[in-house]
């Protein structure tokens, strides 16, 4: 069993607290990704799990064992570093075999494991080379291989793809996901790239300033962000956040943005919205929820017309990002390339409110969830 629990884990450097009382339960064989802007404490958290950073307070359990003061090597973990940290003076084979040798594994076992891992990662032809000759992608594979041969229960990956070029990052994402399925171990992965988080994770932990903001599956995180930070961090282009006033007309709530009235769906929890009647909130609408025409599969009750002025168009091929101005606010819409518009055009789009978000402007917390 390699479930991991963090109980009120925190880390201080002198007077500076970088991780505040984190509580997190990671299930066995789960692929969990810590994501957040740089300096949010995600790497520190990972390094505390690895035992590279002393735990200032709280408890870390792997399985049922308290690991706070167990040295790294006895935690049954393997780690992949951002700069790969391959030993420059050893061949790839020796790099991979090193951990096992220190554990006094018999040579035939070492050899078999190294060969197997090399085969899985497709680096057999590199085994007798030194890291100096390898490209970034190849080093990445070797680093993964070095972690694999140890058969650890927990894999820790610290921004492993951030030094690769965009194309390679795409392929390696898929490979790491496959590897997780294949190895059947717990993966804890740190990244600042929300695309990596969304595509690979079973669950995502969003962190900011040493606090966990939300822990959830990628889809839930996208659909039901608990606060404005998560809403803004997940999804690209960012969710549009607009000041709106909540009104109630004929038993139905609506949000008024810049004089335009957008109906709120009945599916929303009215008991939660009611206290905000007549007050200003932040309305969140994802760029893809603006349409040039009302789509057929959406209840027209949940849509409203939305007028804005086009500031800039960014054709992406399959879609167009419209940067628009409405009521002095910047916003972005993702529309189909069929939608022809020029800079300066006043356009009226259909806003699909089914997935709209409402946030309290003071606490920044979600009103809906």
């Amino acid at each position: 069993m390699a479930s991991i629990s963090l109980k009120k884990l925190n880390k201080t450097f002198g007077a500076l607290t970088v991780v505040h009382d984190i509580d997190l339960e990671i299930a066995d064989k789960e692929f969990i990704i810590l994501v957040g802007p740089s300096g949010c404490g995600k790497s520190t958290t990972l390094r505390m799990i690895a035992g590279l950073e002393e735990i200032s307070g709280g408890e870390l359990l792997i399985g049922t064992d308290l690991m706070n003061d167990v040295p790294s090597k006895d935690r049954d973990i393997a780690m992949v570093f951002q700069n790969y940290a391959l030993y420059p003076h050893m061949t790839v084979y020796k790099n991979m075999a090193f951990g096992l040798e220190l554990r006094k594994a018999p040579r035939d076992v070492i050899d078999r494991k190294v060969q197997e891992a090399a085969k899985i990662l497709d680096i057999t032809h590199l085994l007798n080379r030194k890291p100096k000759a390898l490209s970034g992608g190849q080093r990445q594979r070797v680093a993964l291989g070095r972690a694999m041969v140890r058969n650890p229960e927990v894999f820790l990956l610290d921004e492993p793809l951030s030094n690769l070029d965009a194309k390679l990052r795409g392929t390696m994402r898929a490979e790491i996901t496959k590897l997780h399925k294949r190895l059947d171990a717990t993966f804890i992965y740190v990244t600042h790239d929300q695309v990596e988080a969304m595509t690979m994770a079973d669950r995502i932990v969003v962190m900011k300033d040493g606090h966990i903001q939300q822990v959830d599956t990628p889809q839930n995180l996208y659909d039901r962000p608990v606060n404005m930070f998560v809403a803004g961090f997940i999804g690209a282009p960012q969710m549009n956040l607009l000041p709106a006033t909540i009104r109630r007309e004929a038993g139905r709530f609506s949000a008024t943005v810049d004089g335009q009235v957008l109906p709120l769906p009945h599916a929303f929890d009215e008991a939660r919205i009611a206290p905000y009647e007549g007050r200003e909130v932040m309305l969140g609408i994802r760029p893809e929820n603006f349409h040039e025409l009302a789509p057929a599969d959406i209840d027209p009750q949940n849509t409203g017309p939305f007028a804005a002025v086009v500031e800039l168009t960014e054709p992406m091929g399959s879609e167009v990002h419209l940067n628009m101005l409405a009521g002095g606010r910047q916003l972005i819409a993702r529309v189909s390339p069929r939608f022809k518009s020029k800079i300066g055009d006043a356009v009226t789009l259909t806003a699909d409110m089914t997935n709209a978000q409402l946030f309290d402007p003071q606490t920044e917390r979600s009103i809906l969830y």
């Binding site: 061949t91 020796k94 080379r129 100096k132 000759a133 390898l134 490209s135 970034g136 992608g137």
Partner: protein, 237 residues
Amino acid sequence: MQWLEAMWTKEGKGIDKDAPKRTGLALFVQIFAREWWELVKLNLLFILASLPLITLPAACFATASICRAMVEDRNVYLLRDFSEAFRRHALVATIWGIVTGAVLALGIYAVATYGAAARENLVYAAPLTVSLVATVFAGLWAMHFMVLSVTAEARRLRDLLRLSALATLWRPLPLLASLAFVAALWLAHILFYPVSVFMPATFNFSLGLFAVMFGAQRAATLVLSRPAEASGEKEPF
């Protein structure tokens, strides 16, 4: 200091998986460029191991076994693999060393005698030729035997003897070329004497055996992969 750090983190060109494998001399040079430092260490190891003269053949075998791994581009743990191979081949190698030494000594003695005689009487040219060919054959056979016994480890002695004889008859030229290379190494040492003092200490032995291994390797794999032999692969010694 940034460029100092780059020393550790700079990415290399990468190694193309599908790059056509080099052959012949180019491959030899490539392996040498990559493993030269290992060869230097191997050479020291060889010298140390063969200091009590009787262990010389076993040290030869062990060195050849390491060189084989280099030729095949396999991973080598120098000290450990060397001592393992040394122990495994010790018995056979020592016998091989004594027999080969005796046979070659006999052969050379014969060549020398007949050669001296042939200068006076041309009739002796015939036995001279025979003994010369026999000596060269015995030498090559012995070399091939060494190569084969470190390559195909689980073979019966009888098989090895037969196969090495076969390899000698089949492809003697690459090995002859390697031996010429070895001779050139030593000649260089003698010719440039004061400058080349450190040659034997640093690479003459290991590079020589590496060349032998490299030359004979193809013959070894050829005879070992003959259909008739492939079936007898896993027979115990």
